[in-house]
Structure formats: C-alpha cells, structure tokens
C-alpha cells in the first residue's frame, strides 16, 4: 500500500449561489519518495484537493462530502480531526505555496518563522532549533545563512523567499511535500533553480512530492506520474512518458497542442475554446464536450458521466468515446 492513498475525495463549497463541486471524486496515491503531478486549468480543483487533505480549507463554506485519504496505512486525514491533523501538518506533510511574496509573515524575522515547526513538533529549544535552521537555510542555497536568518522577509527576493519556504517545509524531514504551484510566481531562470532544489532535497531526504501545476513543461521535468484534472475530476492518469507520447483524452491532447513551443511559427496560437464548465451546475455527460475540437464532439456522452478506465496497463482515462476518438 502506498504512503498516501486518496480515494473518491469530494469537496464541495456550499455557497449562496448553490453547491460548487470543486473536487468531485478524485483518487490518487503517492508512493514513498516518488513525485506525482496534478495538472489542470485554473479552477479545475487541483489546489482544493490538496488543501482538503491538510484541512486548510475554511469550513464552512467548504465541506468534504465523501472520500478518504489514508496516510501511512493508519490515519485517515479527512476524518481524524483537527488535533491529530495538527501533529501531521508541518511535521510529516510539509507544504509550499504559490506566491513566496505573501506566504511569509512580513512582521516576523525569518528565524522566528523557520524554527516554529521545530519548537512545535520536535520540542527543540530555541538555540538548537536556530542552529538547525541555519543549517537548513544553507542546504537550500542561501548565502551567509547565519546573517540572513535574522532578516525580515521583505529583504529577500522572490526566489530566496521560495528557498526559505522550502527550507521551512522540509526542516522536519516530512514524508510528503505538497508543492502548490511553487514556481508559478517566479521568473523562468529562478523556476529551474527551484525545481532543481526541490529534486535534490527530495533525493537527499527521500520525500514524496505532490506537485500541483498548470505548466506541462514543469511536469515533464520532475514528475514520474501525472494526473490531469478537469472540472473536479481526473480525466487522465499515467506515467509522464506515455502522457507526452500517447496522450489519450481530448483534453490532454488539447493542452499539449496549446503549448506554444509545439506550434507552427507564424500561425495563430492554438487555445482551447470556451471556459471550463460551471461546477455549481450538475454536469450530465462528458464535461469537456462543449470545448472538444480535437475529438469528435458529437460522440461525447450526454447522459452519463464517463467512467474512469484503465485502457493500457498503468494508463487510466475517462472513457468517453468522443474524447478518445
């Protein structure tokens, strides 16, 4: 059994305008030391599914309707309650966020923030924790860590702050690191450095990584297995190689087609037409039907949601005739 097994997770938001089915039956698993990617457009539910695991969503309006997330064969993260969850958050599962400019407290020194998990979970005294914090800043490539640690976040650049976040998330040697679009807010040269850093630290510590992104290039760089999400569900799940070589689902193919580098120079860039469906309405049939240009729109299911099916060993896809054609 895997380190983390998420089964049929459903997270709904009960808003004034009805129920938004942000995550509608998502299953995935993470093995020790492996990296999985979750890819999708904005609003496809990729962040919400990971926030649900750690109980970081405001409830209400969010509510976890169904599902389980078995961590380390024993604890169900979704039903274990706040108290147990607190002992896992930040200790056994670390998290880094999208925007390093806002995810550090501007009024606290880096030192005070970075030792928080150590003092809290490891019951370390402040001096020992500081030593360890300086060491871990050194490991993520921050020069002069013993000086830098006494600075405030606004004295760091974006890339440096993301390094601090990574150091902070990994300081307790967590078994899983959830990276929620950690490179989206950074410029391209820094992106590469941060990805390399995550990979190096992952290898050194044996951490499993759940990598959320909408950048397929990033996925090809670091993930072993990819889940493509659309409208709150996983439409395709396979290893990285076959995703890029033999994509099955029309949505995946459209995504790959809209990468600028894959397109003919001088022609209009391809984009997927339309918008993702409104998840506050009940979707009957295939969620991608309206926007399906690559497959045969007319063959898409209209009465029942497509089933998730293993079409080749290890390659799962939503079985909608229109999207697979």
């Amino acid at each position: 059994m895997s380190l983390l097994e998420v089964n049929n997770l459903k997270t709904y938001f009960h808003t004034r305008n009805g129920i938004v089915r942000a995550v509608d039956g998502v299953s995935f698993s993470v093995d020790k030391g492996k990296t999985i990617g979750i890819v999708g457009e904005s609003g496809s539910g990729k962040s919400v599914s990971c926030y649900s695991l750690l109980g970081l969503l405001p409830m209400p309006p969010a509510k976890i309707e169904e599902g389980e997330a078995i961590f380390d064969r024993s604890t169900d993260l979704l039903s274990c309650g706040e108290k147990v969850l607190r002992t896992i958050r930040g200790k056994r599962i670390g998290m880094i966020f999208q925007d390093p400019m806002t995810s550090l407290n501007p009024y606290m020194r880096i030192a005070d923030q970075i030792i928080e998990p150590l003092c809290l979970h490891m019951k370390m005294d402040k001096e020992k924790a500081l030593k360890k914090a300086i060491h871990s800043l050194d490991e993520v490539g921050i020069p002069e860590p013993d000086n830098r640690i006494n600075m405030y976040p606004h004295e760091f650049s974006g890339g440096m702050r993301q390094r601090v976040m990574i150091a902070m998330a990994l300081i307790t040697n967590p078994e899983i690191l959830i990276a929620d679009e950690p490179t989206t807010a950074l410029d391209v040269t820094i992106q590469k450095q941060i990805l390399d850093l995550i990979q190096t630290r992952q290898k050194e510590l044996g951490t499993a990584v759940i990598f959320i992104t909408h950048d397929l290039a990033v996925i090809s760089e670091i993930c072993e297995e990819v889940n493509i999400m659309y409208a709150g569900r996983i439409v395709e799940k396979t290893d990285t190689k076959s995703l890029f070589r033999t994509p099955k689902h029309a949505y995946t193919r459209s995504l790959l087609k809209s990468i600028p580098a894959n397109q003919v120079k001088g022609e209009k860039l391809y984009t997927i037409p339309g918008l993702p469906p409104d998840t506050s309405q009940i979707i009957r049939g295939c969620a991608f039907r309206e926007r399906n240009q690559i497959g045969d729109q007319n063959q898409c299911l209209t009465n029942s949601r497509p089933e998730f099916k293993e079409v080749e060993p290890g390659h799962w896809v939503q079985n909608c005739p229109g999207c697979l054609s």
């Binding site: 970081l56 607190r86 009024y107 809290l120 405030y152």
Partner: protein
C-alpha cells in the same frame, strides 16, 4: 554612511524603517519633544511645586509674581502647580483609557474577524448596539455606577491598608473616569481590527502558518495580530487627545474629576467663570491644553505616514 550599511546588514525591521521615516518628519519630531516636555513637567517637576490644593484667600486672583509664577485662582491656589497636577490627570486619562480601549478593541475585533460567521455577527451586533447609544450618556451612567464602587474601595483601602486618605481619594476619584472612557472607546478600534483580521486571514502566510501545524489561536495571536499593529498604533495615538477632550468635557459638565482635584478640563471650566476679570485663569490652561492636543494629533499623523509600508523606503 557606514552606519546605514551595517544597519541593512543587521536587518531592518518595519518598525525601524518607520522610525527612520518618522525622523524625517520635522513636525512629528517636534511633537514628540513637546509632548515629552509636557510629561516631564507634569510628572516630575510637579512634585517640587507648591501644593495645588493649598487655599490662601488673602492672596486670590494675584497676578504673576516670583511667588506664584502665573498667579493664583479664586481661592488663592497656585495656578502653575494646579496646571501641572491637572496635567497628570488629563494625560493619564488619555493614556490609560487608550490602553484599556486598545486592549479590548484588539482582542474583541480579532476574535470576531478571525472566527467569522455567527460569532462575528453576534459580536458585531453588540458593537453596533453600543454605538447607537450616545457616548456621553453611557459614560455618565457608568461613571455614576463606578464612582459608588470607587468610594467603597477608597474606604476599604484606607481602613485595611492604612494608606494616606488624601492620596487614596485622589486615585480612586479618577479611576472610574479612566475605565468608563476606556470601556467605551474600543468600539471603533474593534471594527478596524476586525476588518484588518478578515483580510489578513485570507493571506497566504496564514495558510502557511496553519500548514506548519500551529493551532488556530497561535496563528491568530502570533501571526495575524502583529500585522494589525500599524493601524492600531495610529488609531491609539489619535485617540489619546480624544480622551483628554472627553475628560475635559465631562469635567466641564461636572461629571468628571471632582474638586478639589484639578484637571485641565476643570481648570478651563473654573477659568471660564472669570473670563472678563481674570482671563489668565482661562488662557494658561487653555494654551497648555491646546499645545498638547496639537502635538498628539501631529504625532498621530506622523505615525500614520511613517507606518505606511507603501511609502518609499529610502
């Protein structure tokens, strides 16, 4: 120049930055100096002055002399020391009422904003209700209730702890006023802090702190509340002169500090009676009072500019 470089290396906090910005604001610096001098006179020099309550009817309404620097009042009491002792009460009212109201306001507003939903609705309706009752009326009622209690406390202290009666009376006499003002001054601040917390709790660093495994209250008190301190400090500075004004108003109406104790409000009230014959009785307290209010208002303005993070950081 070399100093500045080492400053940045050591890491400058937002407070330090603010102080650097503040130092460039001449009016704010002047205000700090003026206010410090006023405090110095009221709280230190006052102890070496004449007894402010010593009556000498033979020498009433005397003009400035070497004996009485700015003259005496209708009962022959030394005006200079009455102004200084009155300043003690006025400044203390301002500071204590502000402290009380800031403490209540921050905690109340932060809890309401952080927990949101029904808790927030109920807590804020209480604030709305209190807001809808005229401020002065509540202060008057509270003052009446609390002064009964303060008289009992005074008697108890004198009989059980053997404190000096005059001294005890002077303290217990003004305590109800401090608290009556403080207990009501927090309403605006609670709203300010609540709004701040509501926007801060959606920020990513709060999520990040939660994802480290901190409890909700730790997140609130260690990560969110310090971030609200900027606006709070500004509001607090600006509310000190407000409370001094309220004290003056109440004393003027005969509801604040009781004779023979003095406060700036009382001195102005008494002076107003002799406006035509002995105008210095109104003018001197009035000048000191106005200068202090000006200084505190400018200080508040200066702090607002200095704590504004969006201002250039040069």
């Amino acid at each position: 120049m070399t100093n500045q470089i080492t400053d940045t290396e050591a890491g400058t906090s937002l407070w330090k930055d603010s102080w650097l910005r503040m130092r460039k604001n001449r009016i704010a610096v002047a205000s700090i100096i003026v206010f410090s001098i006023t405090c110095f006179f009221c709280f230190i020099v006052a102890w070496f002055c004449k007894d402010p309550n010593q009556v000498n009817l033979a020498n009433k309404f005397s003009g400035p002399s070497s004996e009485h620097w700015i003259g005496t009042d209708a009962l022959g009491r030394d005006l200079f020391s009455r102004i200084l002792y009155g300043g003690q009460v006025s400044i203390l009212v301002g500071l204590i009422a502000t402290t009380v109201s800031v403490t209540i306001g921050i905690i109340y507003g932060a809890l309401a904003g952080f927990f949101g939903g029904k808790i927030d609705s109920i807590m804020m309706r209480v604030v709305d209700t209190l807001f809808s009752i005229p401020f002065l009326m509540i202060v008057i009622v509270l003052q009446a209730v609390l002064s009964e209690w303060s008289r009992e406390t005074s008697v108890w202290i004198v009989s059980n702890l053997n404190w000096d009666k005059g001294f005890t009376d002077r303290i217990t006499n003004v305590l109800p006023l401090f608290f009556a003002l403080g207990l009501l001054g927090w309403l605006t601040l609670a709203r300010i802090v609540r709004a701040q917390v509501m926007s801060l709790k959606e920020r990513e660093f709060v999520e990040a702190a939660t994802s480290l495994g901190l409890t909700k209250l730790t997140v609130l008190f260690r990560h969110i509340i310090p971030n609200t301190l900027g606006p709070t400090v500004v509001y607090a500075t600006l509310s000190v002169p407000g409370f001094i004004m309220y004290e003056a108003t109440l004393s003027y109406l005969g509801l604040g500090v009781e004779s023979p104790n003095s406060s700036w409000g009382i001195l102005i009230k008494e002076g107003a009676n002799y406006l035509e014959t002995n105008s210095q009785l109104l003018i001197f307290p009035g000048i000191i009072f106005s200068i202090t209010l000006f200084a505190l208002n400018f200080l508040g303005d200066g702090l607002r500019d200095a704590l504004d993070v969006r201002a250039s950081k040069d």
